[in-house]
């Protein structure tokens, strides 16, 4: 089980965002991957796509089911984690690290204030 990094911000839909300057890395939480089970497919946006907070950015599929991923904050996709296309199981192994989904340029950094801290998120999921 991965720890929930203090410097990340979280959503109730089980995404996280890590911010460095005007860059944001987006992923799904350890809780999300545990609930999904074996992840076998990841559908991600293309570089240049505009993400709007709370809107679908892509989806992950486990053996059992498909699940939408929502953008925790708004921004423009500048990089996609291509490694997940051939190795989606990394999402089960390192959801808070190596298996980030997309890197964006934040267009509305104020939105970060609406997100949960690591402590609040863990409280929310009952961890």
């Amino acid at each position: 089980m991965s720890a929930y990094p203090e410097n990340y911000r979280y959503t109730k839909e089980h995404e996280w965002v890590r911010v460095d300057g005007d860059s944001g890395w987006i992923g799904i939480t350890d809780h999300a991957q545990q609930e999904l089970g074996d992840i076998v497919y990841v559908d991600l946006p293309k570089v240049g796509a505009k993400l709007e907070q709370g809107k679908t950015l892509g989806s992950v599929e486990s053996v059992k089911a498909v699940s939408d991923i929502y953008a925790p904050v708004s921004g423009e996709v500048v990089e996609v984690n291509e490694a997940l296309q051939t190795a989606p199981e990394k999402l089960n192994q390192d959801p808070h690290g190596e298996a980030w989904l997309v890197r964006i340029r934040l267009t509305a950094p104020d939105e970060l204030n609406q997100l949960l801290s690591a402590a609040d998120y863990q409280n929310y999921i009952g961890a």
Partner: protein, 367 residues
């Protein structure tokens, strides 16, 4: 966690929770969907042995001098051909030919048949059979008297053999014996829903936790895994075994579902026969067929299927195949299109994704 409606549970519920299974609401039953992970469990069944709690399945017993007449009237396969100790797959049909349920019929004695039916259909099945029981056979809703475990995989036999004096190797496929497992009464059937060799045992509910633990111990040397309904579904899909509510429903007939072999048109009258005869005469218009994804994407139940850019059918079951490492599925298509090798498109979240129809089953074990 609390739930507004009480879920039904099997005698192994506390065992699943103790072992850390992920539990889900499966048609009103609190059931394990997975333990260690669906792929690992699936692989254990294909390569070694897996243990499933399928106690949610229902049992209906039909007894008396008219038992055979009733069974043969309400089900589409020919129970008159069964020998004592033999099992067959059959359909309970409506007058219009659609499925009430798909069932296993066990002939216990000349005047005693034991039906294994789907969990979520058991009350409906019992009512259906009782309503048609004009010959006054004794029909018993017996689900409370049985727990059911499935031991499946190439090492199922040596695992179960450690706990029973019954000579398992001498039980042929789709046959059963009444004997003992770990000194408890057991109906031991060489049946399954995985496409592997294996056994399904019917045992007294209060013995289920003890026998579950003993089976896990017995299979340890082979790498046995407790398995959930998730792996049960991927295994049965690879073997192209139908799931009620998906491949077969009240509006699908055996002829459409590629199950003409369970509709014995030469036997005397049975419920649904007239409708099936009419359908056969007019020609079946749609048919179940398998497909593999060619484009990136996973087909799921209910997705639309297009052929030549026009709507043509729908996916009944779909998902990744852990054994073949492909994304597979089953769909209904008009008969004229339902042949292997045809290019089709599955509509995945609004986008057509390429797939091709293929012969089934997707997986067949080597004997």
């Amino acid at each position: 966690m609390t739930s507004a409606t009480a879920l039904k549970s099997t005698p192994l519920n506390s065992v699943h929770r103790r072992m850390g299974a992920k539990m889900v609401d499966f048609g009103g039953w609190d059931m394990p969907v997975q333990y260690s992970g669906i792929i690992e469990e699936h692989t254990a069944v294909r390569q070694a042995v897996g243990l499933f709690d399928v106690s949610h399945m229902g049992e209906i017993e039909i007894r008396g001098p008219e038992a055979l007449n009733l069974v043969n009237y309400v089900s589409s396969n020919d129970a008159a051909k069964l020998k004592i100790g033999q099992v067959h797959y059959s359909g309970l049909l409506y007058e219009h030919g659609g499925f009430v349920d798909d069932i296993l019929v066990h002939k216990v004695d000349h005047d005693h048949f034991f039906l294994c039916v789907n969990a979520s259909n058991q009350e409906k099945d019992y009512d259906h059979i009782s309503t048609l029981n004009r010959v006054r056979a004794t029909v018993e809703f017996a689900s409370d008297r049985y727990a059911q475990l499935a031991i499946q995989g190439p090492k199922a036999l040596p695992t179960l053999q450690k706990l029973t004096r019954a000579d398992l190797a001498s039980i042929r496929y789709y046959h059963f014996v009444d004997d003992e497992v770990a000194e408890a009464w057991a109906r031991i059937a060489r049946t399954g829903y995985t496409g592997e060799d294996g056994f399904e045992i019917y045992i007294p509910p209060d013995e289920a936790p003890r026998i579950w633990d003993l089976l896990l111990d017995a299979g340890q040397e082979f790498g046995i895994r407790p398995c959930g309904l998730g792996a049960r579904n991927t295994l049965r899909l690879e073997a192209k075994m139908a799931l009620y509510g998906h491949e077969i429903t009240a509006s699908i007939t055996p002829l459409e579902a590629d199950l003409a072999w369970i509709a014995k048109m030469e036997k005397p009258d049975f419920i649904g026969k007239t409708a099936l005869a009419r359908q056969a005469e007019r020609g079946v218009t749609r048919k179940l067929i398998g497909f593999e994804m060619r484009g990136r994407g996973i087909a799921r139940d209910g997705y639309d299927v297009y052929v030549d850019e026009a709507p043509a059918g729908w996916v009944t079951s779909g998902g990744p195949s852990p054994t073949l490492n492909k994304n597979i599925g089953l769909c209904y298509l008009p008969v004229r299109l339902a042949e292997a090798g045809r290019s089709i498109q599955v509509i995945i979240r609004g986008q057509p994704v390429e797939a091709v129809t293929v012969p089934t089953p997707f997986y067949k074990r080597s004997k």
